[in-house]
Amino acid sequence: MRFMMIVKADKNSESGVFRKEDKKMFADMGKFNEEMVKAGVMLAGEGLLPSSKGSRITYTTGQPTVTDGPFTETKELVAGFWLIQVASKEEALEWARRAPFGPGAVLEIRQVAEVTDFPPDVFPPEEAAREQELRDQLQRKTSRP
């Protein structure tokens, strides 16, 4: 099973400024990543730039509206993530426990949904297959004049 470990933003990550003490943090993070890779559990992981470099798209009945960052609710924002494949939720928690974060940091663990987690009437695979077929046909038509 897969889990996403979501790193919550804080004032530092939102500032986008790297301080001297961040050097050690990067080294520790590198070691932690290496440990997860060596254990065969890390599938992916990325750090995100501050929300000032991002935008938010809100959907309404009309055209979606776009709001540029930064956003103020720092604790709700995401600063980075790992995607790991582990044997249990407890194992995901155990890896999270080992992440080299200092006091105040927040890491959220969420299980990634598998197809089998959706009831068939919500996500019927045949429907998805038909859709893909249509897309393929369209593409073939456009690629073969």
Partner: protein, 424 residues
Amino acid sequence: MTATDTHRAIDAVWRIESPRLIAGLARIVRDVGLAEDLAQDALVAALEQWPESGVPNNPGAWLMAAAKHRAIDQWRRNKLLERKHEELGYELEEQQKMSMADFDAALDDDVGDDLLRLVFTACHPVLSAEARVALTLRLLGGLTTVEIARAFLVSEPTIAQRIVRAKRTLAEKRIPFEVPRGPELAARLSSVLEVIYLIFNEGYSATAGDDWMRPALCEDALRLGRILAELAPEEPEVHGLVALMEIQASRSRARVSPSGEPILLFDQNRALWDQLLIRRGLAALERAEKIRVARGPYTLQAAIAACHARARSADETDWTAIVGFYTELAQLMPSPVIELNRAVAVGMALGPQAALDLIDRLTAEPSLQGYHLLPSVRGDLLVKLDRLREARSEFERAASLTRNARERELLLNRARACENIPVR
């Protein structure tokens, strides 16, 4: 935290720590069986103490220290014996002196080399394939006997006994705890890769709904493969195997219908393929090809899987490349089944007649007698060539040969379809 929570947390710690623990211990005591016993004793101590004390900050170090105490106890007992067996005395004392320092070193050392030794020992050809699989999952996958038994649909005592026997065999045959060197390495490595791929296939070929535990087996095999790729990064076939498993696993969502029926590659909804695993697979393949231009069997199979993975639709498949890879594979390990697969690829690349010519050379092959895919593929090609009467009898023959009821139904349907189309 309740006691159950703590037990679950201990299971999780065990998954993460036990391979390193056993590997470190095996280096010191030079006996994989004894190392595992010591690690198990440490686990028992954790199960006794952690529910009250909580999980320690550095659980790996805690377990190693517990195993060390246990080992010292044993040696003390041996010391008493030593007085009765003078001839063993000197050796034991030396062993003990050396070992005390080793335990402390093992806590800090990078255990990569020990883990690799453990891989090669658990997959030693002196053991049967079954025993290698069980021991590898136990020692390197951190699985319990119960979990292994459930995954292979056999009883727990069977697996337990298999592991006990395997450990005894390793001790009796005095299998050294080491990474093979020189000419031996290639054969030993292929035994390791075989074990991992066997575990993967056990999980991958199970498609029935009852087998819900088995996708976990694919994940275990992938985990072992990824670990091995870090331990032996200079071995191209390790990356080849990882690439093959990542790409095959990328299709697992698309290869079973909601009612549990298998869906063939060409009929799969490619939108369901896991792009992350495909990317990982392609990256592993690239690593393998960078190390050595001449591809080994796993790298070739991965290269074929990659051709399918890269094609956005079945029509866009690069069949010419696939034919080339199958040709190489057939030269490396000649097999009629590979020839049959090559013929299918040739049919897609060059047309049905070219494939039929190849297949007609295979029909006399003794090992393919009774193999339902041969007439089934032949029938397929004959349909494309509009030789429907012959196609019908091939499908009927294939139907009579398959043991799978659903497949038989499908083949009989195809046979009937040949009657309905007017013969030109």
